[in-house]
């Protein structure tokens, strides 16, 4: 039994407790740092040699304490759940935004909405029926028809603009995915080196986890823990990041809304052009909007325009204009984008239902006005579009708000493991401080013991 072993035991305690205090300090310093995981000094008592041998009799109380490692407290399963909830959350958030955008274009319930303008158009037909000779009423009708046509084509154009903007956004997001993936690969390398060198890499890992979360939010990517403490990121089964290497993804598909048929927007691997699966996240919602939602609603708007053109033209060409000649189509075009008023001369409006000579019959205009009640007319088509947009937007909003709660619960569970609790750190600090004081007292005790031994003993015969 060594005389000085007590001092070295106390010294190891001083080292260890100071380390524990440092860790508590680091935790407190990062209490508000996004993505920081609390750390804990893993203390281990130093015992006797594990292999007994002759003449190596060891009867000490122990060799003190050692900081085995500084651990990062984070639950892999909770992280996994957090990533999948965040991926779903950002998918629904994007969906909500997209549908709200469409709703803003077509869902006008007020006086300037398409429904209101159609009603005004039918009323204008009635006015012409009342006063077939009144050019003012006829002009008013042409103006109103022009307003309806331009509203339709404007709404179609705005939906097209939204498509173009989102297509560009997809490009930006994919660049972000690639950058993030290569940063994760860099961090993987750094973590590997640090681990093999026995250096702490907790902060690097925190940063890497944050980036993996970002990838999950963007693409719904899944994460697996690879060899040597690296983090591998997969996009639907294919590796986006494996160890220190990355595979880049690119955007493929139509760059214009008109070229969308048979060429949907998607992601593919830059190396071999295989399509890359995007299981969730913002990008998934954006491609869904580009490939399905926006074109669908635009087609619905086309249906409204087509109903307007067909119904009005059918009746209009069956009538006769102010001079008694057969009516020509009032609208041209077949889609919301192309619809326009074909007539500029108000006298050419076929208000009359009587053929032959010029007359002031208004029965055909009356028939046109009655299209307001047509169950297959443009009003009905527009109402059905409206209800579809409204339901879709409402569903997306509700799902998103429910998902927010779920995501918050997952985050709270993650936080409950990784988050810093000030009270806990204070307690740890207190414990470390007291332990430090105790160890120092042990050292003082040993010191005074040695003092007694060295200075107060062996004085016989002096």
């Amino acid at each position: 039994m060594s005389t000085f072993s007590g001092i070295s035991t106390a010294l190891s305690a001083l080292y260890a407790q100071r380390r524990a205090l440092d860790v508590a300090g680091q935790n407190i310093a990062n209490i508000n740092t996004e993505g920081y995981s609390r750390q804990r000094a893993d203390l281990q008592s130093v015992g006797a040699p594990a292999v007994p041998s002759m003449f190596a009799v060891y009867d000490d109380a122990g060799g003190g304490v050692d900081v085995n490692s500084v651990e990062r407290l984070r639950d892999t399963f909770l992280e996994q759940r957090g990533r999948s909830e965040h991926s779903q959350g950002s998918y629904l958030e994007q969906r909500k935004t997209d549908l709200a955008g469409i709703e803003r274009v077509v869902g006008n319930l007020g006086d300037t909405g398409l429904s209101h303008q159609l009603s005004d158009l039918w009323a204008s037909f009635s006015d012409v029926a009342n006063r077939p000779r009144d050019l003012a009423a006829r002009n008013q009708l042409l103006q109103q028809a022009g307003t309806v046509a331009s509203t339709l084509s404007e709404q179609s154009a705005v939906l097209g603009d939204q498509w173009a903007a989102q297509r560009q956004q997809v490009g930006t997001l994919v660049t972000e995915v690639n950058t993030t993936a290569s940063t994760i690969a860099d961090l993987n390398l750094a973590v590997q080196r640090a681990t093999s060198g026995g250096l702490p890499s907790n902060e690097l890992q925190d940063r890497r986890d944050g980036l993996a979360m970002k990838l999950a939010e963007l693409t719904g990517a899944t994460v697996r823990n690879g060899a040597d403490g690296s983090l591998d990121v997969y996009l639907g089964g294919s590796a986006l990041v494996r160890g220190a290497t990355t595979e880049a993804v690119t955007v493929t598909g139509a760059t214009e809304l008109t070229g969308l048929a048979g060429n949907p927007v998607g992601l593919s691997w830059a190396a071999d052009g295989r399509p890359a699966d995007v299981p969730g996240g913002t990008l998934s919602a954006a491609t869904e909007n580009l490939n399905t939602t926006l074109p669908d609603f635009r087609t619905q708007l086309d249906t409204v325009a087509a109903a307007l053109v067909t119904k009005v033209n059918d009746v209009h060409t069956a009538g006769y204009d102010l001079a008694g000649t057969a009516g020509t189509p009032l609208f041209t075009g077949t889609t919301a984008a192309t619809i326009a008023v074909a007539i500029t001369d108000p006298a050419l409006i076929a208000a009359s239902g009587t053929t032959g000579t010029a007359n002031l019959d208004g029965s055909n205009a009356d028939k046109l006005a009655a299209l307001a009640k047509d169950p297959t007319g443009p009003d009905a088509a527009f109402r059905s579009l409206m209800v579809r947009v409204g339901s879709a937007a409402k569903t997306a909003t509700m799902r998103s708000s429910i998902q927010d709660t779920v995501t918050a619960a997952a985050d709270s569970a993650r936080d409950s493991v990784s988050g810093v609790n000030l009270d806990e750190e204070m307690t740890n600090m207190l414990a470390a401080q007291r332990a430090y004081e105790g160890a120092a007292r042990v050292m003082t005790a040993v010191d005074s013991m040695l003092d007694t031994l060295i200075n107060r003993t062996g004085l016989v015969g002096r």
Partner: protein
């Protein structure tokens, strides 16, 4: 195992709660300032469709009312014209009887009567050309400005002029010239021309003319009654269109507009909730063990 609660999770939960409360407050504020419960389809897809339907229904009924006003103008014109014509026809009948009793002797007196009949005939032809907004009300859909030529022949057409004054309800608002003033021998203007001719040249025929005149007069009277009946029908339909607009507007308001007292109460409650959340947040984030350690 207890669930660890950290300052940061309390902070984010509090923040989320505050956001939620403030969001609800904002929604209520927006409802109050716009006065509308539903401003976009996703607020309530089914109610939005009701709103659109009610709006177009209101617009249609307002137009029915306008159409009825126009119809009332036509029928009023017919009524005035025919009432005036009736007075003149009574006068003609008096003159005819006078002419018959004057006998064959007094040619001068009969000439005077015939002259007055001619004048009345001219006046009645003008009545036959009565116009509403530049259109002859007895001329059907003619593009011309007269229903009868100066010689009393019908130059209009008989296509009916109708006004839509309700769903699938059309009312005829013109009076077809031949229906009102007759055709052939008993056409009013022919009768009057004959009368004047016979008064001058062949008084024996005047009795026969009197019969024709009575036929024509009763026809005009019939047309007048008919126009009156249609007038009151259009008036009724206009009233019902106006009533319907009121009903529909109140239905629209029921769907779309906010209930003011209810919304204000909700706003107050939400404000209290928000203030409570603020107070709780301020209290909960503040203390930690730090406050109690020396």
């Amino acid at each position: 195992m207890y669930t660890r609660i950290t300052q940061r999770s309390i902070q984010s939960t509090s923040l989320a709660g505050l956001q939620l409360n403030l969001g609800k407050l904002g929604d209520l504020q927006q409802q109050l300032s716009s006065g509308k419960l539903i401003t976009k389809p996703s607020d309530s897809p089914s109610d939005s469709v009701s709103i659109l339907e009610l709006q177009s229904e209101i617009r249609a009924n307002q137009q029915y009312s306008r159409n009825a006003d126009d119809g009332i103008g036509w029928l009023n014109t017919i009524d005035n014209a025919l009432s005036g014509a009736m007075d003149n026809l009574h006068r003609v009948r008096d003159l005819t009887l006078q002419g018959m009793s004057t006998g064959a002797a007094d040619a001068q007196a009969r000439e005077a009567i015939a002259t007055e009949v001619d004048q009345i005939r001219q006046g009645l032809i003008q009545t036959g050309n009565a116009q509403y907004l530049d259109r002859p009300v007895f001329g059907g859909t003619t593009a011309g400005s007269a229903a009868y030529a100066a010689d009393g022949t019908f130059i209009g057409d008989t296509t009916p002029v109708t006004r839509t004054v309700g769903d699938n309800t059309k009312v005829r608002v013109d009076g077809a010239g031949p229906d009102v003033f007759g055709t052939g021998d008993t056409q009013l203007f022919t009768v009057l021309a004959d009368l004047s001719k016979h008064l001058r040249q062949d008084p024996t025929q005047v009795g026969n003319d009197l019969g024709h005149l009575d036929t024509a007069t009763s026809r005009v009277l019939g047309a007048l009654t008919d126009a009156g009946a249609r007038y009151s029908r259009v008036m009724q339909l206009r009233q019902s269109a106006d009533d319907r607009v009121m009903d529909l507007k109140s239905a629209l308001s029921g769907v779309q507009d906010i209930d003011l007292p209810k919304t204000i109460t909700e706003l107050q409650m939400q404000q209290v909730a928000y203030q409570a959340a603020l107070g709780a947040t301020a209290k909960v984030i503040q203390p930690s063990l730090l406050d109690f350690l020396r």
